[in-house]
Symmetry: C2
Subunit: 195 residues, 2 copies
């Protein structure tokens, strides 16, 4: 059985949980409190959750690589070459142009005191978060999912922090197509919420 | 024939060029001067190079998604499930934990005036860049390539900005395993330099 090391409030850790639930893949959840502890660094020298541990003890970090590993060859992954590349297009977009703003703004709002100097970063993070949401809005106004007509791990990757963007002060009201897509994701079989 | 839209000094644009050269894939190179121009935004609403245009006019952005598209089913991609996930592990590491520091430090040093306020970001970017290089050093001291014994698109993704990290003031001297790996990459058949 897989072991998934993660933190409960992390969208990145929610991604593989949601995929595993929807695929009916059994796993054990282990909560990590310190990603810089030597025991955890042995599993991921980059010191980040989530990590998926396989039966042989080998460890796979990076939320979107774990999604790929779990979903390859299942209905959660595109079955054609361009579809697979388009899933990755959106998953790299998520990690480079979306998560560093949407998730980081949320983390600062939720986990720093009101007088933290980090709060000075919020306006810039929120503006970049809105840029990412505008790109999603444009796409989702034309297509029901990230990759055409079919729900996939690309949708899971982007759902993880989009659905809770308002936690970081990034309003979703201007994005009706994004909000309709969030509802379509929530309506998927075996959907589980982040918390 | 593919068309690759890019900028000559961009490591992200070098990645698909290097892969295409090594795979013997024909492509036309089109230099982009303004990624916010309407004509380019029609190709990538996220306003970033590179973009790969296919014969039917459809456009694929995100350097590492393009690498995947070009390399799937070739010797530049792992042929087993865990190997493919490990390639993606390193490619997501590159986009999240390496490029935003190593490439951005280089860009600031090369493209801002000496009195630019952006230079105040350099110490933090360089420190985070060194963190990424330490993770690579630990891995490459044990394995010849990102994914075991075989050169792959994960090595291309990480070579792109690692080989020129010193442009951004990030010394490679402390990383002998990384430097030996850079040499192994340069020794690959049909290797072409960035510039």
């Amino acid at each position: 059985m897989y072991t998934l090391y993660g933190m409960p409030d992390s969208g990145n850790c929610y991604k593989p949980r949601l995929a595993a639930e929807q695929l009916g893949v059994a796993y054990r959840w282990v909560e990590v409190s310190d990603t810089r502890a030597p025991g955890f660094l042995a599993k991921n020298p980059n010191g980040k959750v989530p990590v998926l541990e396989l039966d042989d003890g080998s460890c796979l970090p990076e939320s979107n690589a774990i999604l790929w590993y779990l979903a390859e060859g299942t209905p959660l992954a595109a079955s054609d070459r361009l579809g697979r590349a388009r899933m990755l297009q959106w998953m790299f977009f998520e990690q480079y142009s979306h998560e560093p703003y949407v998730a980081v703004a949320r983390s600062i709002v939720r986990h720093t005191p009101p007088d933290s100097p980090r709060r000075a970063e919020l306006p810039r993070l929120q503006e970049r978060g809105h840029q990412a949401l505008r790109v999603m809005e444009q796409h989702l106004a034309r297509e029901p999912y990230c990759v055409g007509a079919t729900y996939s791990i690309a949708d899971i990757a982007l759902y993880a922090y989009t659905h809770c963007a308002e936690d970081g002060g990034i309003a979703l009201a201007p994005y009706p197509a994004v909000r309709a897509w969030l509802e379509r994701v929530r309506a998927q079989p075996r959907f589980v919420p982040m918390r």
